[in-house]
Subunit: 481 residues, 2 copies
């Protein structure tokens, strides 16, 4: 019997609230707070209409720590589930710290004024969370989230040591519009148009290159060398940066791709991107030599992206327009369809998986662990499309494990083998359990078995394939059966 | 010795002022008024630096008739040269009427809230201009303008009757940016993304179809049937409309194209568009059975256009954004490079011409009359690129002919053979000279010879080719020699 306070009533928020309401034995009291009360009310109404009972709704400005503290004090939840905007992670963490309340989110902190993703500022809360005796779970969505758990699960059961990980994210859905984004366009487009990076341990070894990838021919087709506006540094400043006894290697946005074959979906052009789970997996997966992240994009999406970028519509800086200040990417967000409106019209599947190479008992092996989700089925179940569903369900699972006491305080943590000397003050001992499991933790630092069991039960069943050198595979596990 | 008041200090305005200053014998006193004084001052400074003497500058809001009347009364010019925005044609015409001052413009009136181009509202001033004894010259740019004069010249010297006209507009310039527009983006993009139309007299005859054209494969590539916003009627409502004993035929924007061969430039994909000179040429060119207008666009330009259209950025309606109202196409204008900034960096040529088919002495013949302009040379001469130059020079020529008394009051007009019964009140007798040449006139209703002579003298020399059935040609005139 747990009281849980959810902040955020967007597409993902709707899924989390529905799925919590489907697990009433665990979440006895659910409070959903949003900046806009009507959005929370609409979700509560949908939950009621589905016969899943009542949830409470409230209003909060998640940028304001004082208001967040007051809200938490009002309901005294065991856990705050943050599915608000990534810009608001730090204010909500601070409010949890001040009220000594457990914390969970699905995406790492992002700076409002630069497209910059990293865990450092959240890891810096580790020491104070440890002192306060509270548990903070970072990135409990699908990617990050389930992908991290897939890796931890592979390491626990199938490998002695993992050499390389390629995370593949394919949305093969179709909403019927020429261009739209499946979640907050501002966050989606910033992510995709940022420089890409992968990580490699030995910068001179065989793995240092990307011999299996080829250059993109679509995204750069309409590019000219010179822009008529100043480019942001993060898309231009390509560097090699030492990190965790290895090296980050930057590449230009959407410049390298591979035609990955997605089981049950088919071959899709997949582009190397940076994605936040790389940063924590590097620290936590034993033996890792190389990690990359790929996302599929079609020609139309990439062409729209490049054209919008060319005219300056992806800019995140302020521009003077008719006497007012506008931020171009926010104007674009205003003009694009509301991602929530896509849910009812999206068809097709999502497919996200981890391609993992390593050794077991001295022999090389390669596994592919994945989930497939059908947009129409997600909509039938919780009025959301697959991209919101795959993020929202793992958030609920993380919350469930915390309030059930399976993850969190007093639970075993998986030791990471990383060097934390590069951590900001407060994060030096992240990944080391010094106070009964309190602190700020990434997904793969918890026992993956509980989480994997829940995936099969809560609508995101997973499949484990053993990949054969001849291109075939053997099914080792299939959670759908 | 004439006093002339120019309103508008944009790219075209700069050219007009420079070229008038180069013809001091005619324009003894030049006043340049602009909404933004600094823009007029910058042009005056450039004229001074080029050793072309002084022009005066003033400030005016061209949307305000009272202020325009006061400005005209202040300087008492013989002629007002309107190179402001097309939205402002009617206010400036009204001010000229009230002050009994001759009027000239380069582009027809456009409604600010719908992408709709037509002469009717300007032709409605014909009767009152006749009564006031003033001369109004409409569309004295290149197209409309020189293209109309080319047709009148062809009819006067080379044909007994013209059957069909294809006007070709090619800008083979390169500014080095991925996407920009050569003049006011709001006007440029509205024009290009509007539905296209051509006119044909006999809707069942051989000429009714466009058998020589093919469907576009670029512009529609990224189109989906459904839009996430309401489309404006003018791009959707494709109709056939009776007009002047013939028929307008609408086609979807950028849907039909032809690979025209532009002498001295080469083959370019050219798209059927609507362009305002069609409306007056139909009424004034004897025997005309069909008229079309083509403009060249590259793949990159078309793809940018379609992507911007798809996301809603070409919309001209108001949209709520963060509590303010924005008009998407105006935001796009803010983000795109200022067309004036392109001038110094544009290379290549413009090529505009009229492909004219008809009969002389019972024999079929085909002429092609054209001008070629070099962007870099234009910039050297008047700090403008070719697109501004080709519009600005004819405005000056029109003004010159008016103040020299070669066009206008007491000068012969060419009788049009059109039925004016569809004209709005005031325009019923447009094209009929009932008061010593006063009234509102289109370019082709004046003697073309004066204008053609000036083209060769003022920087826009023309070439007349006789096209042979085998694809070759004979040069009949070349104004550059």
């Amino acid at each position: 019997m747990a009281v849980v306070l959810q902040i955020g009533a967007g597409g993902v928020g709707g899924v989390v609230a529905h799925k919590m309401a489907m697990n009433r034995g665990v979440f006895s009291r659910i409070i959903l707070a949003s900046r806009t009360l009507s959005k929370a009310q609409a979700i509560a109404e949908s939950i009621r209409l589905k016969g899943l009972g009542e949830i409470e709704v409230d209003c909060v400005d998640a940028d304001n720590i004082e208001l967040l503290v007051a809200l938490i004090n009002k309901y005294q939840p065991e856990l705050v589930v943050n599915v608000a905007l990534p810009y608001q992670d730090l204010t909500i963490m601070e409010a949890c710290l001040r009220t000594k309340t457990h914390y969970l989110d699905t995406a790492n902190y992002e700076h409002p004024n630069s497209a910059h993703f990293e865990y450092k500022e959240q890891w810096a809360y580790d020491e104070s969370f440890k002192k306060a005796g509270i548990f903070g779970l970072l990135g409990s969505g699908f990617d990050p989230g389930v992908t991290n758990v897939f890796c931890a699960y592979a390491l626990k059961h199938y490998f002695d040591e993992i050499e390389s990980i390629d995370i593949l994210d394919c949305n093969a859905g179709d909403h019927g519009y020429a261009f739209a984004t499946n979640f907050n366009p501002e966050i989606n487009l910033r992510e995709v148009s940022s420089k890409a990076r992968y990580w490699v341990r030995d910068s001179k070894g065989d793995l240092a290159d990307n011999a299996d990838l080829k250059e993109d021919t679509i995204y750069r087709k309409f590019e000219r060398e010179e822009k008529h506006f100043a480019l942001q540094a993060n898309t231009q400043d390509l560097k090699q940066e030492d990190y965790c006894k290895g090296q980050w290697r930057d590449i230009a946005p959407l410049s390298l791709m591979k035609e990955w074959n997605y089981p049950e979906v088919g071959i899709k052009n997949s582009y190397l991107l940076y994605h936040e789970e790389l940063e924590s997996l590097i620290r936590n997966i034993k033996g890792l030599q190389k990690i990359r992240f790929f996302m599929t994009f079609g020609e139309s999406y990439l062409t729209h992206m490049k054209c919008l970028e060319n005219v300056g519509l992806l800019r995140v800086d302020e521009v003077e327009h008719n006497g007012n200040k506008i931020i171009p990417i926010q104007v674009l967000k205003t003009l694009l369809p509301n991602p929530a409106s896509l849910a009812s019209r999206t068809e097709g599947k999502t497919h996200i998986g981890c391609y993992i190479k390593g050794r077991k008992n001295g022999k090389e092996r390669t596994l592919y662990i994945y989930n497939i989700c059908d947009h129409k089925e997600c909509y039938r179940e919780v009025n959301a499309q697959g991209v919101s569903y795959t993020t929202g369900v793992p958030a609920m699972i993380g919350a469930k494990l915390i309030v059930e006491g399976k993850w969190g305080i007093n639970q075993i943590k998986l030791t990471n083998n990383a060097d934390n000397s590069d951590m900001p003050k407060g994060g030096e001992n992240q990944g080391i359990d010094s106070n009964k499991g309190a602190g700020v933790w990434n997904m793969e630092q918890n026992d993956p078995d509980f989480f994997m069991q829940e995936l099969n039960l809560q609508g995101l069943p997973f499949v484990v394939l053993e990949m054969k050198p001849n291109g075939g595979y053997e099914i080792l596990e299939d959670g759908r059966k």
